[in-house]
Structure formats: C-alpha cells, structure tokens
C-alpha cells in the first residue's frame, strides 16, 4: 500500500513542557488508525501538528515524500488534502449546512457552484443529513453537527481524514450515529487517523492501534496485539483501567 503521511522524530514543546517526544509512524492508503491514550498524553497535539494547527518544534512530516514543515508543499493546499474533524465540530455558525459543505470547495478548490453543490449533497446524503441543508448549525443536535462536519471534510475529497475525539462532546445517545458514519467511511476505504476513547471502535474498526503515553508512542500494532496481548505494562494498565471505568 502506498504511504501517504510519514511522521519522523516529531517533537513538540510548549514552553518547557515536552508534549510530544520522538514520534515516528506512517499512514498508508486505506489505513484506519486509532490513537488511544490517557488524557494529556498528547493525542490532540499530535493531530494538530499533522494538520499544522500547531507548529512542531522538530522532526519531519512527509506527505507523499514531500517535507511539509520545510515548505515543500503549500500549507493551505496540504490542508485541503488532510481533512480534520474536531471534537467541538467547529461548523461555520454563519452558514447553512449546505454552505458549510460548499464554501471550501468553491473558495479554496475553485470548483464551480453546481459541481460543489452536487458533491456536497452526495456526502450529506452519505452521512444522512441531506434533508437538513437549509438549517444553521445552531439548529442541529450534536450528533447532527458532527455528521455535517464529517461531510464538510469529505466534500474536499481529502486523502486522509483526521478525527480528534469526534464523539467526546456528544450525549451518549448520539455517539452511535456518528460512529456508524465513521464505520461506513472506514469500510469504503477512506484513510483515517482517529483519536478516540471508544475502545470498541478502535478494536473492531481500525486496522492499527497506537497507544500514546506521556508524549510517546508506547505501543503500536494490530487491534488484536494491543487489546489481547499488550506488551507494555503501561498499555496493560491503561486498558485495564479503561475496562474498570466502563464496567
């Protein structure tokens, strides 16, 4: 499988706080990678560095072998190819659902209005929100907002989609509808990098799991490896604590 993103020795410090240390991993086409780990382990920071919302302190991010941090690819163009779905949705409050899904296509990708609308409608239908095109974000429930946010990201036709705890801000009864959409995406071959606390999703949907602790990748492997025979004691402790919390 073709490599899309390669992260090499990535580090990030806030002041004197080393949040990410020597992160190394790669994302290939069709990968669905779950990133798990306790709060404060640096998962969000890692995604934000990959999407250039934070500037990495050192290390490399290679996108199709192009050095992103060295400016080998235009920052905005890179972002159109690496979509992001946020915990807090971040839908544009001043725009309708349809316009949320069109504005990037029209203004950034310079697509025609008709093409953009057709494309937006296709993805809105996919996430089950085609009926809501006229609504403003404030008129939607959390689960609906997140599904629109996913459609907005998909409408840009990115190569990779980053998810930062897409269900953490949702009421329990809405978590399922968003996870279902993500499952369908994963099955359709979308390349995804998902920070999540939903262990069932990590175990059943992803093909690789990364466990982070204290800013490092503590363990990486297939879901069976991580959930059935974790090698690191830290991973074991995290998973058992997690099971304890859940049951």
């Amino acid at each position: 499988m073709a490599g899309i993103i390669k992260v090499e020795h990535l580090a990030k410090t806030f002041g004197t706080n080393e949040v990410l240390k020597d992160i190394d991993f790669s994302v290939s086409s069709g990968d669905v990678i779950s990133i798990i780990g306790s709060s404060g382990s640096g998962k969000s920071t890692l995604l934000r560095c990959i999407n250039l919302l934070e500037e990495a302190t050192s290390g490399k991010i290679l996108f199709h072998d192009k050095d992103v941090l060295a400016g080998a690819i235009n920052e905005d163009e890179y972002r159109t190819k690496v979509g992001m779905v946020f915990q807090s949705f971040n839908l544009f409050n001043n725009l309708s659902v349809l316009d949320n899904c069109m504005i990037g296509q029209v203004k950034v990708l310079k697509r025609g209005k008709e093409e953009a609308e057709k494309n937006a409608m296709e993805y809105l239908a996919k996430v089950g929100m085609a009926q809501y095109i006229k609504a403003k974000p404030r008129q939607l429930s959390g689960g609906q907002k997140q599904r629109v946010a996913i459609a907005r990201a998909l409408a840009m036709n990115p190569e990779v989609l980053l998810f930062d705890e897409p269900t953490s801000a949702l009421d329990p009864e809405m978590v399922g509808e968003v996870l279902d959409v993500m499952k369908i995406l994963a099955e359709s071959g979308m390349t995804m990098l998902v920070v999540t606390h939903e262990m069932a999703f990590a175990r059943d949907v992803s093909n690789r799991v990364i466990y982070m602790a204290d800013g490092r990748i503590e363990e990486e492997g297939s879901p069976e490896d991580i959930f059935s025979n974790p090698r690191s004691p830290k991973t074991k402790e995290f998973l058992s604590r997690f099971r304890g919390e859940k049951e």
């Binding site: 544009f92 001043n94 504005i103 009926q131």
Partner: protein, 266 residues
C-alpha cells in the same frame, strides 16, 4: 395674533408652519451625515480592528513584524486620541487647522463627514476588535483545516460573525451620531440643531423650538433603532428551517416542504 399671545401648542404649530421646511432640511442633513459617517466609521473601524487583531505569521521576518508593530502603534494612538477628546474640539481643530495652517478650505460637507467618520471609526475600531476576539477560535481552526487562507477565513467566516455580534453597537453609534452631529454647528453645518438655534434666535421661543426639535430627533433615532432591530433579526434568519424533500425534482427546482414528523427545531 402675535407670537407672544399664543399658547404653547399654537407656538409649536406656528414654528412647524413657518420653519417646517428648514427643520426638514436640517433633519435630512443630520440623517445624511449620521448615515454616511456611521458607514464610513464602520469601514475605518473594520480596517483598524482587522489590523489590530492580526498576529504576525510564524515565518514572517523581522521587517514585516516591525512594520506591523509600528502600524499597530499608530492606530492605537489614533483610537485613543479620538476617543479621548471632545468631538466639538476635534471639529474646530480639523476645520480651522486645515484652513489656517495648510490653507486648505474644507467645504462644510467634507469637513463634517471627515470629522464624524474619523471619530466613529475610533470607537468602531475597539468594537470590531472585541467582535473579532469574541468569535470562537474553533471557527478559525475549522476554516484553516479546510485550507482557507487567513484572508478567506476572515472575510467568509470570522468577519460576518463579528459583524453580527457588533450590530447592536453599530446601531448605538448611529443613534449617537444622529444626536452628536449637533456639535458640527460649531463649524456652521446647517443640520437640525443649527436650525433649532436659528428658529429660537429669530422667534425667542426657546421652549417651543426645543420641544419641536427634540420630537424630530426622537422620531429619527427611534425609527433607526427599530429598523436596525429588523436588520438584526433578518441576519439571524428564520428560527425554524424547512427540511428538504427527498424528491430530486423538487430539490433541483429549489422547492422544499416542511415535514412535520421530523422537522422543526431540535
């Protein structure tokens, strides 16, 4: 019947009959200056507020950072000076200063418009800065994440929301401007207050002239505040939205219908 024999209402009527035309002209001048200057003040305010909230890009060199700092400093000075001194003195300062120091004779209109716009701009700059900062940073991140440039993010996402947030203050400024154009009478602008002074000077009926003029001012400000409210609720759009039908024909022709099983607010 002479003026001195009339009662209060007869005098007001007399003023309206004899000076209705000049009062109307004065009111029109006042409204024109207030509207034009509030608009120009907003343009200035948005430009200044936008620059004030611009952070230098990580990769910007020392020169660019330096220029930005100097520009911000000058703009801060502008805002503080114009907010910190009376507009009446600013009017005298600019109007008479221009003619005596530079030999430039600003016409009545251009002097009035420059003074009130620049003054409004100083207030609006702070308002716009606050309005921009009040927009959730997540909005900016959402826009950046789909590849929008800083400029696009501001123009399509942040500023429209900032504008909505500060609409009440824009309305406030318009109403203040309607009333405060009266200070322009110091440079001879024939607006509503100037008209009041002419009438009361000619007829010696201060009380009645003041009453009539106050009523006119109030009608102007009250109408404007109602219109602005209406604009605000228009900007908010309808409280409910219609669900689009699944009928593709209806969709392409822009037809939608309300589905009362699932529709409405959530």
């Amino acid at each position: 019947m002479t003026i001195s024999e009339m009662n209060f209402f007869q005098r007001m009527l007399y003023i309206l009959q004899d000076y209705g035309g000049s009062l109307l002209a004065g009111a029109a001048t006042t409204m024109a200056i207030a509207l034009i200057c509030t608009f120009l003040g907003c343009v200035i305010g948005f430009a200044v507020g936008l620059i004030q909230t611009t952070e230098p890009h990580k990769k910007d060199g020392a020169v660019k950072r330096g220029v930005l700092r100097v520009v911000k400093l000058i703009l801060t000075a502008y805002v503080e000076v114009f907010r910190g001194t009376p507009m009446m003195l600013q009017a005298a300062f600019i109007y008479y200063g221009m003619s005596s120091v530079f030999g430039i004779n600003l016409g009545m209109w251009s002097a009035a418009i420059i003074i009130v716009s620049v003054n409004t701009g100083a207030y609006m700059a702070e308002t716009v800065r606050g309005g921009i900062l009040s927009v959730d940073p997540g909005q900016r991140e959402g826009a950046r994440a789909i590849g929008m440039s800083h400029m696009q993010t501001m123009v399509y996402i942040v500023l429209p929301q900032a504008l909505r947030n500060i609409m009440p203050q824009i309305g406030n400024n318009l109403i203040i401007n309607i009333k405060d154009t009266c200070v322009l009478s110091i440079i001879g602008t024939v607006e509503l207050f100037f008209t009041f002074r002419s009438i009361s000077g000619a007829l010696y009926t201060y009380f009645e002239a003041a009453s009539v003029t106050m009523i006119i001012y109030f009608i102007l400000t009250f109408t404007c505040s109602r219109i602005l409210r209406a604009i605000e609720s228009r900007m908010d759009g309808p409280a409910n939205f219609d669900l689009a039908t699944n009928d593709t024909l209806a969709f392409t022709s822009g037809l939608t219908k309300y589905n009362d099983k699932t529709g409405g607010m959530h």
